[in-house]
């Protein structure tokens, strides 16, 4: 599964997808026009009629300008990093204007995922406003997270009340951008001991305690300190020292070790915290959850794999 899916809503906005309604202020202006019209009729005042119709015309013309501000805008979401629960997930949303021209007062909002009924006011969960967009611009939508698991960006709304603030045009984008929310690292249990019980192992920085096994080509995620620099001088390829750590050398983070905690979520939170500690300490670690195991390893790839298992644990 790809964690940062590129999702497309890249079809430029057109009239089939743009909605326009008066804002609160627009409704007040409408009320004022009604008052002016009544006054014009009552006093048979020609210029009051003219003004009333001029402002009415302005409202209609504003509709075109408000629409124009939104039309031709395309949106795509890019580059989403997984986050820990409680931290906002930052979805970068790229807005492209075709033909390129400046857009004003755009508010991009993520709507609360449920209850999209036309008669119900959409609940905005988070939004970001840009006074002016020129050409291709990126807006960052910070979606708050509370629970671990996959996070789908879902429906977005882009809206603007330019130029008069009396009408708002908006459009919805269905995105399939998703990211993963890791459990929040929490818990106070100490990091379990690796089986050898040597204090040096917990500090773990000295690779010498492990047996050198051989060299293999660099793969993304390999620890930088494992790179065999002398071989780089001899050949172009980057080689990484591989150690034969005995199974007993690996730090196994097990479900059973956190069974003291009553809540499964708290157990996952504790495990997450241990993963971060182990990674920081440069240890090789593995995860053992009921029905699921992640073999030992270290580095960013291992960390991502373990955290993903924790995030998606059922």
């Amino acid at each position: 599964m790809s964690l940062s899916a590129l999702s497309l809503a890249a079809v430029p906005l057109n009239r089939r997808r743009i909605f326009i309604l008066p804002t609160r202020h627009g409704v007040s202006l409408g009320g004022l026009l009604l008052v002016i019209l009544l006054g014009a009729i009552n006093y048979d005042n020609a210029l009051a009629y003219l003004l009333c119709f001029l402002l009415g015309g302005l409202l209609l013309v504003a509709m075109l300008h408000t629409y124009y501000n939104l039309a031709g805008l395309a949106l795509r979401t890019i580059r989403v990093e997984p986050v820990f629960a409680g931290k906002p997930a930052e979805f970068a949303v790229q807005l492209t204007s075709t033909p390129p021209r400046a857009r004003y007062g755009m508010t991009l909002s993520r709507l609360a995922p449920s209850n999209h009924h036309w008669w119900r006011r959409a609940v905005v969960e988070t939004s970001t406003t840009s006074p002016v967009l020129e050409g291709d611009s990126t807006l960052v939508l910070r979606v708050p997270t509370t629970r671990r698991g996959p996070l789908v960006l879902g429906r977005l709304r882009i809206a603007s009340a330019f130029p008069l603030g009396i009408l708002r045009a908006w459009a919805y984008f269905a995105t399939d951008a998703r990211t993963l929310v890791y459990p929040a690292p929490q818990g106070s249990l100490p990091l379990p001991q690796a089986p050898l019980g040597n204090g040096a192992h917990q500090q773990g920085l000295q690779a010498g305690v492990e047996d050198f096994f051989g060299l293999h080509p660099y793969r993304a995620g390999d620890a930088r300190r494992a790179i065999h620099w002398p071989s780089l001088a001899r050949q172009d390829e980057l080689l990484v020292k591989q150690f034969r750590g005995g199974a007993e050398d690996d730090l196994w983070l097990r479900w059973s070790q956190v069974s003291a905690l009553p809540d499964p979520e708290a157990r996952l939170a504790q495990l997450t915290k241990w993963v971060l500690h182990a990674e920081q300490a440069g240890l090789r670690y593995a995860l053992d959850l009921p029905g699921q195991q992640v073999p030992p390893g270290r580095g960013a790839a291992q960390r991502a794999q373990v955290l993903q298992a924790l995030a998606l644990y059922q």
Binding site: L32, I41, L47, L55, A102, P131, L164
Partner: protein, 654 residues
């Protein structure tokens, strides 16, 4: 959007300009306090003063106190009457207070909308072309303020705000014009009007106290305009008939409720003139028409004494169409009318009455008695003047036998007294005489200074006959207009000395007047009735509100579609280069070579060229041009591609 000092300045500019024309009408106290409140808010915006919110109790109380004082002052100044003037004063005070309270985005919108409303209040005082243009500027400014509030200051300069506002207002103008013409007009007030709604109205009245017309004598205000279908009557025949005065108490003359009964027949004896009148508001029901009206449209109803009446008091410019004959006979008189036309107040003007009785005894022929009376004026050293001496005693006797100086009212009233004393039924007719011709758009302007009064006597052989005793004393009053007599008192008199300047002045004045006429005719005088006429001209006889709304909606839809086409063309069209290339592909697709969705321009060109070697050179040229424009040289002219695609013709396969 946060409210910043810049936004406040925009708001203040709109408010100030919309309020400026009211300045002379508002009490100084209200202006000063509104200014002080505005200054307070502006100082607060720059941090020199705190705002009167709850945290600053003293300031908050001060604001409340100011509000109470302002409203109290308005209540006292206008004696508790909520009319037009008090309404404006109240609005001004309210706007000052509201301006001080401006804090949130909502306040900005409220202030902007109230400024739009303030613009309307100006129209209750003036509806001239300059007022309309000035207020259009205010609307543009307020709209620009709204744009300012919705755009970032850094990337959207003030000039851009103003130019967008101007563009939007210009785009709204056709919508305004269509709605103005087609929106169904309702007649009459929906609720009671305040007493001072039409206080500025001047003109004739349905009573005449000697000396009253003096003030009108030099007023250049327009009373009405007349447009004739064909030729005009001669200057001396231009008697515009208004209210007929029957009853007198010796000093004041009044109309009678003889009324609105069936008018007596007018026997035409000469050419008939067809014309339309555009009457300025009078606040009265009677209308003016060329003496005597033989036919009228539905707006005007003739009364028994040939006075024309509108269906309701004329509070707005009114347009109506009439037919008149200047040579005519009015042969009918009822007993009641005869009695009223002979009545004299008991115990008044004994000398005049005696003179009348003397003529009655001397001459058996009534027409001869009329001649005697005119002879009396002609030979009696009477003087026409707009500044007659005061007549504190018996006005008629004093005028006829002592001062011998006066203007039309004096002559008409005393002539009628003499006639009645001589046993001839007589009545005073008020109205206007003359009129000035506007060469630019061919119509006659009648001003308040043309107000006139004359007499009518009933002779058994001829019926009612017009007699204008003033013409005997001052013949020029009729042929040249009142300016020939008013002399130095007229503002035009100074220019009179320089013929060239006068000519230039006249032509500019005529042009201006002509524009005002069109404005009055089409904008200010556009009444429910005028609207029906307009619809009739369009071919909708007896259009009702439903028809109008239908036509309005259809026209608005059309205009909006056109505006959308203009505004949104670039949205639909996109890049001209892509558009041209798409046209090229479409031309090939029509002959059976559609471009596959995944096919690049290069591959497509190769494939089609292989199938149609006859087109290969052109296809290659267009494709190269397209790729160069799209991905390479920015200096190339995109129009090149458009032209090449335009010339590109795909012949049928052989």
């Amino acid at each position: 959007m946060r409210l910043e000092a810049a936004h406040l300045w925009w708001c203040l500019a709109g408010l100030g300009l919309a309020l400026a024309p009211h300045a002379s009408r508002l009490a100084l106290g209200i202006l000063l306090s509104a200014g002080a409140l505005a200054a307070w808010r502006m100082l607060a915006a720059y941090g020199y003063l705190p705002l009167p919110d709850r945290r600053h109790r003293a300031l908050w109380s001060l604001k409340q106190l100011l509000a109470i004082i302002a409203f109290g002052a308005i209540y006292i100044a206008y004696r508790g009457q909520i009319g037009r003037d008090a309404g404006v004063a109240l609005l001004a005070a309210l706007l000052g207070l509201k301006f001080l309270e401006m804090e949130r985005a909502r306040d900005f919108y409220v202030m902007s909308f109230l400024t739009y409303f303030l613009v309307v209040t100006n129209f209750f005082y003036s509806q001239t072309v300059p007022t309309a243009l000035y207020m259009l500027l205010v609307v543009i400014l307020v709209t620009a303020g709204l744009i300012r509030f919705n755009t970032p200051v850094q990337s959207y300069p003030a000039r851009a705000c103003l130019s967008l506002a101007l563009r939007m207002v210009v785009q709204a103008l056709p919508i305004m014009a269509i709605a103005f013409v087609l929106f169904p007009r309702l007649p009459g007030p929906l609720w009671g009007l305040p007493q001072d709604a039409f206080s500025a109205v001047t003109g004739l009245s349905d009573s005449m106290t000697i000396g009253q017309i003096t003030s009108l004598g030099v007023s250049d205000e327009i009373a009405f305009r007349v447009k004739f279908d064909a030729q005009l009557p001669r200057a001396a025949e231009r008697y515009w008939r208004g209210p007929v005065l029957w009853d007198t108490d010796g000093r004041t003359w009044r109309t009678r409720q003889v009324g609105e009964g069936e008018p007596h027949a007018v026997i035409k004896q000469g050419p008939v003139y067809r014309y339309s009148v555009l009457l300025e508001p009078t606040g009265e029901r009677w209308l003016l028409g060329l003496d005597a009206v033989t036919q009228s449209d539905r707006t005007a109803v003739a009364g028994a004494d040939q006075t024309l009446y509108a269906r309701a008091a004329v509070k707005q410019r009114l347009r109506y169409t009439l037919e008149s004959a200047t040579h005519y006979q009015l042969r009918e008189i009822t007993t009641a009318e005869r009695r009223a036309a002979l009545a004299l107040p008991a115990g008044h003007h004994p000398r005049a009455a005696a003179l009348g009785r003397e003529w009655q005894a001397a001459q058996r022929d009534p027409a001869a008695r009329v001649q005697r009376a005119l002879e009396f004026f002609r030979r009696g050293h009477f003087v026409y003047t707009l500044l007659p001496p005061a007549l504190p005693g018996d006005a008629v006797d004093q005028f006829l036998f002592e001062t011998k100086a006066g203007f039309c009212e004096h002559y008409a009233a005393s002539f009628v007294v003499l006639m009645r004393a001589a046993g001839i039924p007589a009545r005073v007719v008020t109205g206007y005489q003359g009129g000035e011709f506007n060469n630019v758009s061919d119509y006659l302007i009648i001003r308040q200074r043309d107000a006139h009064a004359w007499a009518e006597v009933f002779l058994p052989a001829q019926g009612w006959v017009r007699v204008d005793p003033t013409s005997v004393v001052a013949p020029a009053r009729l042929s040249l207009g009142i300016n020939s007599i008013a002399g130095e008192r007229s503002p035009l008199a100074l220019i009179d000395r320089n013929a060239a300047a006068l000519k230039a002045f006249r032509s500019v004045a005529a042009l201006w007047e002509a524009m005002n006429y069109q404005w009055s005719q089409w904008v200010l005088g556009y009444s429910p009735q005028r609207q029906l006429e307009f619809f009739a001209e369009l071919g909708f006889d007896d259009a009702d509100a439903g028809d109008m709304i239908l036509l309005l909606t259809a026209s608005l839809a059309l205009v909006m579609a056109l505006l959308a086409l203009l505004t949104l063309r670039s949205v639909q069209a996109g890049d001209p280069i892509i558009r041209s290339y798409a046209r090229f592909c479409a031309k090939l697709a029509r002959r059976g070579y559609p471009r596959a969705p995944t096919e690049g321009p290069r591959d497509y060109a190769l494939r089609v060229s292989a199938a149609r070697p006859d087109l290969a050179a052109k296809i290659e040229y267009i494709t190269k041009l397209y790729t160069a424009l799209r991905y390479g040289d920015a200096r190339l002219d995109p129009a090149l591609l458009g032209r090449a695609v335009g010339r590109f013709v795909v012949s049928r396969d052989r």
